[in-house]
């Protein structure tokens, strides 16, 4: 099973990279952008086939390693 983990800075934690990208987009005259957040995507291939178990395992991976929950949030997406 393929699992996509998206890690991004928590709302309320200043995202300097997002701000810099936003600024650059504005200077390219993409004026309709109201906010930019930059995160990272981690793609996992799991042997597990049970969705609930996979989600539980990846949640532990996020809490232990993939995200720093002091400053980051994570989203887990299971792809069949």
């Amino acid at each position: 099973m393929k699992v996509i983990v998206n890690v991004s800075l928590k709302a309320g934690v200043l995202d300097s990279q997002g701000k810099a990208v936003h600024h650059a987009l504005n200077s390219l005259h993409f004026n309709g952008v109201s906010d930019v957040r930059v995160g990272k995507q981690i793609v996992l291939n799991l042997n597990e086939t049970d969705e609930a178990k996979a989600r539980e395992e990846v949640t532990r991976m996020c809490e232990d390693l993939l995200a720093n929950t002091v400053i980051e949030d994570y989203e887990i997406e299971l792809i069949k």
């Binding site: 200043l14 300097s16 810099a20 390693l65 002091v70 400053i71």
Partner: protein, 224 residues
């Protein structure tokens, strides 16, 4: 006095740190991260600066799972003194030995220069040779030095005198190079035996090389 200095793949300040402590008269040992224990005669354990595991994923994120870190946590729990410099500070926050986290510098640049710091609290072994409000000149060299902690955590840091150093100009006026909360450059844990800072005192040991203000900081550990 025995100083044990941790070495991960990618650590690059271990020899500077060793040189600095040797200069101050300490016995030193560099400890590879595969070790499962901290030498029993260790008086101070230093997590040296560098780029452990290439800063992959996040600075310090992978180093925290090195075999030696379990022993470091045990050592700290039993009151052993731990000092994390730069990447070492990042490793200690990732490992949960110090509160908060280190984010990418606000202006996204890698900073490598001398910077002034003000002593906020000196009621600890690390800064006891200095006075409150003293200004020291210490090099910084980091990309992820933007200290973050939430409002409650910050309140707790102040309540327990855990804020050690802030970034200032030479007159002690706040000057924040990286966006860190309240311009914080260094903190300690509540028990005051685990210390972390982004600046490099071990690089400020000779006036010939710009500053010897690091001597007063590191010496604190030797005169315990």
């Amino acid at each position: 006095m025995k100083v044990t200095i941790l070495q991960f793949p990618g650590t690059n300040c271990e020899y500077d740190t060793q040189h600095a402590f040797k200069d101050l008269g300490a016995e030193t040992e560099i400890l590879w991260h595969k070790s499962e224990n901290v030498p029993s005669d260790t008086d101070l354990l230093v997590v040296a600066g560098g780029f452990s595991y290439g800063d992959y994923l996040r600075s310090g994120a992978i180093a925290k799972f090195s075999p030696v870190m379990k022993a470091v946590k045990e050592y700290a729990k039993n009151g052993g003194k731990v000092l994390g410099i730069c990447n070492g500070f990042q490793v200690l926050t990732e490992a949960g030995l110090l509160p908060g986290a280190l984010k990418r510098n606000e202006h996204l640049h890698f900073l490598s220069k001398h910077h002034h710091l003000k002593v906020i609290n000196n009621d600890n072994i690390f800064l006891k040779e200095l006075n409150k409000n003293d200004v020291v000149n210490i090099p910084i060299a980091h990309h992820d030095g933007n200290f973050y902690i939430d409002a409650n955590g910050l309140k707790e840091l102040y309540a327990n005198n855990q804020v050690l150093l802030t970034y200032t100009d030479e007159n002690g006026e706040t000057q924040n190079p990286n966006g860190s909360v309240d311009s914080i450059a260094g903190i300690c844990n509540k028990e005051k035996n685990v210390f972390g800072l982004m600046p490099h005192p071990e690089r400020a040991m000779e006036t010939l090389l710009g500053s010897d203000d690091g001597v007063k900081m590191l010496k604190g550990f030797l005169s315990a």
